[in-house]
Amino acid sequence: MSVMSGSEHLHVVTSDDITPGRKRAGRLMIWGTAGLMALVAAAQLAQSLGWQDFGFTSWRPTLYAFCLWATALCWAQVLIRGEHGKRALFVLPAALFVIALTVFPLLFGLIIAFSSWNLSNPDGRQFNGVANLVQMANDPFYWNAMGNMVWYTAAIVVEYIIAFGLALLLNSQIRARKFFRVAFLLPLMLSPVAVSWMVGKSMLEARFGPIARLARALGWDDPSFFGSPEMAKLTIMVMDAWTFIPFMMIMLLAGLQAIPKELTEAARVDGATGWRSFWEMTFPLMLPVSITAVMIRIIFKLKLADIVINVTSGGPGGATDTVTSFIFREYRERSNVGYGTMLAMVYLVMIVIVMTLLMKLSARHTRPRN
């Protein structure tokens, strides 16, 4: 992911005269609502710890207090800083929203990750130190799911080649281009759950699914797409590829269309044809786009779960499990929130490490050349 270049900024000087009273009112709003939020939260905490009953039924009052504080914070920006405050208002709501919904749950998740917490158990949360980590280290199914993720991610290479081929086809001189573009785009529009049904459950049905029929006609006597671990994994890969190839294809197509026409013409005049012009001109020019597309594809691949949950539930014997589907079942079957969260956290740490490495590696190629 490239980060913004940050060169084209607006420079407009504004003259605000903000009275001290207005500033004071702004500060009062922020701190007043913050105090209110702290008060409500403290009261709710006291109730949940059993010190005093204030008659709360849920933690919603704290949520409302947070919303009030967030609104006051935004408003006060304008009061205190005038025109500059108004500019901050562009980014502030989104930032507060993301912080409230990711940063806070992540911190909360860290607490959960080190506890034994079964939601159906009336005892509630019990802090259990590193027990979850130990359990994780000895959980062959988790590491198996991790290993599967490596396989699934490796499949992106094939997806990339197909997507590149399709993008080249769509970029060549063809008729009915719009029809083909729409047709190729459609799989991406379909919900993975519907794909699970229409491809995974019905078309691949071993007895009368059309693909099974086709396989029999081609000489495979007993087509079973989810029988052996390797075959099942491959089938899931193919189904996921089917949905996501259009995504890479469109990014690559955009890249191809951005190649200046003069370059292709010049190459042709120089006598470069077909294969050579592809390897010596198109492919190098497409490298930055390719890397962006593959990176985004990896990010999406690491979230793969819907198809696995709905078609195989991780079977046979965990061969198709992804980390997400494994944790999903772990929660569904044992409703163990603590252990599941620990697994997810470790997964996140691994993703961050791997993605950082990949971004560092690819930074050389994505940098625009002069």
């Binding site: 992911m1 490239s2 913004m4 940050g6 607006l10 407009v12 039924t57 849920s58 108004k86 500019r87 562009f90 980014v91 709501p93 989104a94 929203f97 993301v98 919904l101 990711t102 992540l106 998740g109 959960i112 086809l169 001189q173 063809i174 083909f180 573009r181 190729f184 785009l185 459609l186 799989p187 991406l188 529009m189 379909l190 919900s191 759950v193 794909v195 049904w197 229409m198 019905s202 007895r207 009368f208 042709r268 006598g271 786009v289 979230k303 779960a305 819907d306 949950i309 709905n310 997400t324 944790i327 999903f328 929660y331 929130v337 997810a344 956290m345 997964y347 993703i351 993605m355 625009p368």
Partner: protein
């Protein structure tokens, strides 16, 4: 690529002008590949839609064409195809369309007027999906566009974070797999009484598409010259005034692209919906998924349900393909 105007000076290369057998072979190869892939893309959709009109034997025998060919015993078209006692090709591969699947959903012509619990259930899920997807996408485009605009135009410094860091903060959310948030959010929602509510899902969906919206919109705003707003601001408009009167109309196609992409992602989302909803706020994908698990599969009704779930997006894809491609291509090319 017509070169007629340039005449003799700039000619097409010899290779281009010759319509040799090699050229035709090349064409055939290109169209062959295109058609093959189009079939791969379209056949599952066709299969689903057609299966929703099939009866059990049609499914079992893999009949594909929705033509009610006359039965073989009565002769019918067999003479035409040159086959005699054998069942005709058409007879073997065609089925008489029936409303079986749609009847089980209460959506066939003969049941549409009657009471149907399945239809009520389906409509409830459909409405849920629609409301959640539309609201979340609107919210995401609103928050995301504003943030992207601010980041592309003004310099911020919050604590140690500058513009690039703030951008990275937003975009890095893309890496976060939903499963990491799922369980903490589940517990929080339980405490907040937001489990199984539409608002709960809307908030999460907004969050999940926000980085994509910011990614697309940042690209859009970067393409609009700053002189436009500078002129407006000199004329006395504030930052917000300039944004609404000058920038918004220009960036609208990009916003539509971001909105549609968000719509696709939120309409299809399954993971959070499966975890966080149970009876009231279920979305369509959860309903589809819950059917597959129970007592075997009744093919026609599953097919009808899937068709209903994918049809809105297919319509959107066909009508608004331009915007979807624009949205996905944004940021790919700098």
């Amino acid at each position: 690529m017509t070169q007629t105007v340039s005449g003799a000076i700039f000619r097409d290369a010899e290779v281009d002008r010759r319509h040799t057998p090699a050229w035709y072979a090349n064409r055939a190869l290109i169209y062959g590949a295109l058609i093959l892939w189009a079939v791969i893309c379209l056949f599952p959709i066709y299969w689903t839609i057609s299966t929703s009109f099939k009866m059990a034997p049609d499914v079992m025998q893999g009949r594909l064409l929705p033509i009610s060919a006359p039965p073989v015993e009565e002769g019918g078209m067999s003479w035409l195809l040159g086959t005699k006692a054998e069942p005709t090709v058409i007879g073997q591969t065609s089925f008489a369309p029936a409303w079986l699947g749609w009847r089980s959903l209460g959506l066939s012509p003969d049941t549409i007027g009657e009471e149907s619990t399945v239809r009520d259930e389906f409509l409830k899920r459909f409405v849920n999906s629609t409301i959640i997807a539309l609201t979340a996408s609107t919210l995401a485009v609103l928050l995301g566009s504003l943030a992207a605009y601010g980041l592309s135009r003004f310099q911020y410094r919050w604590a140690w974070m500058k513009n690039d860091d703030i951008s990275f903060f937003f975009l890095s959310q893309l890496i976060l797999p939903p499963v990491v948030l799922a369980l903490p959010i589940l517990v929080l929602y339980k405490e907040l009484g937001l489990l199984d509510t539409r608002i709960g899902l809307i908030l999460l969906y907004t969050l999940s598409v926000l980085p994509i919206v910011i990614w697309i919109m940042r690209d859009q705003f970067a393409g609009i010259p700053t002189e436009l707003e500078e002129a407006a601001m000199v004329d006395g408009l504030g930052a917000w005034g300039a944004f609404f009167t000058i920038i918004l109309p220009i960036a609208l196609p990009g916003m539509v692209a971001a909105f549609i992409l968000s719509l696709v992602l939120t309409w299809n989302e399954y993971f959070f919906a499966a975890l966080l909803t149970s009876t009231y706020a279920n979305t369509l994908p959860v309903m589809v998924a819950s059917q597959t698990g129970s007592q075997g599969i009744s093919w026609w009704s599953m097919a009808a349900l899937s068709t209903a779930a994918i049809l809105p997006l297919i319509v959107i894809a066909v009508l608004l393909e331009r915007f979807i491609i624009k949205g996905m291509a944004a940021g790919a090319v700098k």
